[in-house]
Symmetry: D2
Subunit: 452 residues, 4 copies
């Protein structure tokens, strides 16, 4: 019998990877599919309804239905699935990146909430990885374990206002030691999760040694409790009108914030090293969730265009114009992108994130654009309703659009892949020369001098 | 000396049409450019700041700065520019559609507010055209004149919830006579402007004769005062997170609403005829404003990528990746689309909307997609800021996206243009046959039998 | 150590499938890579030089270097690799479709000649499959065995002039029994291989029972010796100026051709059944070769843009404009398409061609367009030389372009995939209804009535 | 009554420019339309049949039907239409660039032959412009007048093998004075027209002063009689399989060719100046012909998809898949591109080629890609026949593809437009600053400090 995940992905992509799944992986995946179908998807609109509309109150709520989902998920063992035991022996679960990739696709059908329900939502995931890998035992006890338990949430504070902080050397936030304290001053924005009432800590990137001749040693990361004096949430940034409450993406000012020395992560000057490690697999998580979002949008589109109550001029919507072709193209694009992400996940399993940089970068620039296109076609099929609050695709679109900017804009990944390809030039040129040498002999052998 | 509009459009497109402008047209255009630059653009963010954030209060405000702009504009004679005297001798201004098209592009740089400042904003424009063309003297006095004066606003109530009302035969709203009254029952949504405190009337389309064998005679339009008992504003529809307060696009229920017989427009069964006439030139207005929005986005992008404070890795943004190519493509796409719209406007002037259906339909499906693409590139250049409330391009994108759905989705216009082209087949086939006949003679003349 | 194929494909796609290869598969693949590098690629331009330019003589040559390659390949066991033992127990080689798919990519780097060298070139491959599956023992002995030995070649004669024969019911060629003979009359074109001096047989599709009420029982296929009286090669059809001599794609008239009854394949009325079976896996072969062609073009492009002798204005070509981005996009597109084809090949292995129709159709419409785009970018990088006889990419482009038309135009495959997706609608609608049911309970539980 | 050109272009684009045509322009255009319809189009396939297939003989023919067309055209006054009197008072005809642009579109429907029939074919047109503008009276008498009379033909010899000669500083051909002679040594290719038996002269660009510190003063141009000793036609370059006989695009070696000093054009070091002037308007000619080719392809596509004999599965081709949408998009793309070229032509008329560089560059990178896309859709509609010698669209495609490379590849024009746009940055930034200033005052006026 086919694995239940087939209903949520494609039989052929599953066939490509099924034998790379452990029994535990298959069972967990089956449970997750059931959980998403039975518990998460029915709760989606309920959760939105539980967020107050009042511009102040929206930021103070812990959504009841999501809290209840978390309890259920934990009981089912659907928890922290992103944290691969192979890479995090102490805290991890015995799942490979490939196995989690498929789970992330399943989660992607249910929006942010689905990931939160199984304690796999950004930015907590990356922060837990940082603390699991680089945190001191004390830091792990104080911050990592409550995060792993889903009791608190966290923010990652890197992006700065007024500069292009995608070049980390442009960072202006200052982190300096004063006695046995660290003092932080800086102006950040787009700090996801900082609005959440449960957010207990910010991992803050800043410059601790701005004059270091090695510009990748200038940065450090410190843990800042979100209730530390001087942490000011200025406002939520909006994404096409959405404020993403209660989590939000906030503008935050750190105004002479003081934390103990023990809150430094890994060591002085290690900030760049930490963010490099943090971003790799996380990009794949985003990508795989985006595949799920795209598939969800296509599924909705198929329902809409076959809905008899939507006929116009005596025909089903699918009988008009280019609808069938749009569906076919979306199918093919999702399928191709899905295989690319699975392939990247498998590379990470085999060669770590470092050995999968090409595949990660490809997925990073291919998948969000693909998903946006698929969702946009679905929007078009739904008419005005497609851009409204009555369908999840408008919100999905906005979220996907930010993925073309977050964790490095498309152009960065495109350039990286292109430059890497250019490095193949010497080997290619060498091979071409060898072939020309052999060709010469054939030219002689067949008496063709002057004919080529 | 070059006309001041050149700064806001392109010298070469202006050169194509300059000699089609009257002196009055040129002067008015020059005044408008000045007004937009000096008054409207500085007021744009001010206006947004004057809309309350409270979800109730947002719908009760008349934005002070916009009110002040209206007073100034009217004094300057920049008023009702859309209403061409050639088509509306009594109420119109002596401007052609082509002349207004260029003005609409200029207005398009300043968002919805710019159009409102000169009393040229939808849906009032279309409604004023309807009342000017089809209204009774009484209706004109009571409703049209205050609209023309900018004292009240209005809504056009056509789209229905739960059905595909782009096929007007699917309309379910009932309009029936009872004594000397008309009774209206129906469930509409996406009724733009219905949220505005100044909205005084809805033009409501419904079925008055649902069994008429001619399905284009089944519909009628009546004027419904927005304060009539039974008019219920259910909620604002959102466009990707935006509610577009205070105007909004509302869900509205008409529950046994009663209006006097004299509120019927033009006559029983004339609804379809009225909407046909209403939609033509209005589409061009949207298109031309979209050109302005796209040009605004490109201008912002150019500023951003040349901003020295945005350098990364030692280079200006424009020195990275495909930015220059993106700017070049945007330039070319705007220019081509602009000429298409100008050409459509000129067709309307020459042959009425009916004789310009091909050009209007082409503009309608080309322009919004083009503008979305240009704005999307600008968003990408701005990074996360591009999707936020800090730049007008995110809001512009959302508005443009609805234009691929409003007044007929893209597919309708594409099919219309394609079907119209297919009608050229007989003439083409005839010409091909004539050419083959002449070819035969040449074959004979040159002794080439059997060679073709 | 990495398998040598990695040099010709990508490490990550190889990692996805390596464990699906048998030892024999891996060894054969390694030998093939070596053979293509050492023998085929050096012979490519030599082979072209050995084709006479005289318009008559071009069709009489057996290319010496290709003949020599065939001898070598056979000796190495690189022979008939396409014929999977699993499907053809008597004549096949122990390779899966997936294994052959990778080999076909390798062969695709060397054009038509590479495939011929290992006796894997169309249309012989499909014809051998037909004869191996449906041929009588006598037919197999007389025609299949010499084909398997590479002693003769063959043509598949289906497409007709003047009608749209992609709809097989439009076929006009008549095949009728007269005593113990079959008489064939018809006008075909685009009969690939019919120009080759070694072409010994045509498999001809025609109507044997045009009035049969089941329109898929009207057709039959007969073996026509190419030297039978009445077989007239009218002319070679050209593909963008190329005549593809000596094989060609010929216009052929069958004028009262008579063959013995024993030349009927499978039985009367079995024509449609045979072509259905013939086309499936062959489409994947084409696709996989196209991946190889695209990768070859990209490799050439990388060499060109890094060539110091091609600098302009002091910069390498790759430092201009969008070259690096074009390379990155090509890389990603090849990679995604490659995974799609591998996935389709694996589906065929698991579920036969019938169970892989979705994946085959996706590959069929995605791959040729992708490859054309990649090759086109390479052409652009080469300047005018790119469209000329001095680079293989111009010829590759023309060949790839025909693949969007051959074996069903893109539109057929797109519609098929789209329609198949629409069949998921009832299951999707059912699931949505279940979710709504569960949602209702949650609404009740959390007291949210009226809020959704 | 509508002007007859409307049949060959669009009514709306004609409406945009009609009032810019002189009476002479309108009459000439009407005659040209008639001539193309009655004489040129019927002769198209005849001309191809009159070119021998023998690879030697193909280069020795003067096509009889084209010669006859030339006689007729000259008699009708349809001659040298490209040479605007405004710019070439002595030799020109009283037509503007805009007027000729429309004529070039009409000519573009008939391929290369149509232009030759009215003595408006490249590279003669550019060469005549050079000689008319820069030639000495002696040069004009000897070379220009026979060219203007259509008695001889010519070549422009710039592109070099082995280097990227799009950067003119890479040119290696040597031009040096020896006594009263000039000695030329160089290796060129893609020399269009050099294969023609009537080709009497080459304008050869080379380096006369390779060490000049001003690198745009290093080049000179000389007239080389094609029968001068040392002029060696090596081979025709092919464009996707086509050799374009009898004109061809030849590889040419100049081996110690000697010409009198009087063959120097304009003066030593003037080579770069001459080619700059030569290329501007010519690019527009190509573009406008391409519009005609695209429209021709669309017209053929419309005939094909409405042809009852091409029905499949009971439906016309246009009733399948995305055909109608493809036609609509092609229509819109042609229309937009046409307006761009007309606008560029008008700019040239107003401000010379120099003042129209933006518009020329836009047209140059937009039009060929657009036309390729339209022609490619037509090919797809024709099935295999579309890529063959039986339809003009395959040949048109190949020719159009070279236009993305000739006279500067796309990337050069794209970069030029993008860089030019970037120059608007200071003005835009200034305007933005002014707006912010005014905004500040409004913020104060309305008491909004801290709200923006």
């Amino acid at each position: 019998m086919a694995h239940p995940v087939v209903e949520f992905t494609s039989a052929s992509s599953w066939a490509m990877i099924e034998d790379k799944f452990s029994d535990f992986g298959k069972e967990t995946l089956a449970k997750l599919v059931q959980f998403v179908k039975d518990e998460v998807l029915p709760a989606e609109r309920v959760a939105h309804a539980q967020i107050p509309t009042d511009p102040e109150q929206r930021w103070k709520v812990v959504i009841p239905v999501v809290q209840d989902l978390k309890v259920k998920a934990k009981k089912l063992g659907l928890w922290n699935l992103f944290l691969s035991k192979a890479h995090y022996p102490k805290y991890g679960v015995p799942l490979s990146n490939l196995e989690y990739a498929v789970m992330a696709e399943v989660l992607g059908r249910g929006g942010q909430m689905a990931s939160e329900a199984v304690n796999c939502s950004a930015p907590d995931t990356g922060n837990m990885e940082v603390l699991a890998r680089y945190g001191s035992p004390e830091q792990q006890k104080k911050w990592l374990e409550p995060l792993l338990n889903g009791e608190i949430r966290s923010a990652f504070s890197m992006t700065e206002r007024f500069v292009s902080s995608s070049d980390a050397t442009n960072i202006r936030t200052s982190i300096r030691q004063e006695g046995d304290e660290i003092v932080i001053n800086g102006h950040k924005w787009w700090i996801s999760g900082a609005g959440d009432p449960r957010c207990a800590l910010h991992l803050v990137l800043g410059k601790s040694d701005p004059n270091n001749s090695d510009k990748y040693q200038q940065q450090s990361i410190v843990i800042v409790p979100s209730n530390a004096p001087g942490v000011k949430i200025v406002r939520p940034m909006k994404v096409f009108g959405y404020d993403d409450a209660p989590e939000g993406h906030c503008e935050v000012i750190y105004d002479n914030v003081r934390v103990p020395l023990s809150n430094l992560v890994l060591g002085w000057g290690k900030g760049f090293e930490i963010i490099q490690g943090r971003l790799g697999p996380g990009r794949i998580h985003h990508c795989m969730r985006s595949i799920g979002a795209a598939q969800m949008a296509l599924d909705l589109m198929i329902q809409r265009v076959t809905d008899p109550s939507r006929k116009t001029f005596g025909k089903y919507l699918y009988q008009h114009g280019t609808v069938v072709a749009d569906i076919a193209k979306s199918t093919a694009e999702i399928e191709g992108a899905r295989l690319l992400v699975l392939s990247a996940a498998q590379q990470i399993d085999k060669f770590q994130a470092k050995g999968a940089m090409r595949e990660i970068a490809i997925a990073k620039f291919v998948v969000p654009s693909m998903a946006l296109q698929v969702v946009d076609r679905a929007i078009q099929a739904f008419g005005a309703e497609g851009v409204s609050q009555d369908q999840p695709i408008s919100y999905a679109w906005a979220g996907l659009r930010t993925l073309r900017l977050a964790d490095g804009p498309d152009a960065v990944h495109i350039q990286q892949v292109g430059q890497r390809e250019l490095k193949r030039a010497p080997a290619l040129t060498r091979r071409a020369a060898e072939i020309r040498e052999k060709e010469k002999k054939l030219v002689e052998k067949y008496g063709l001098k002057g004919h080529l």
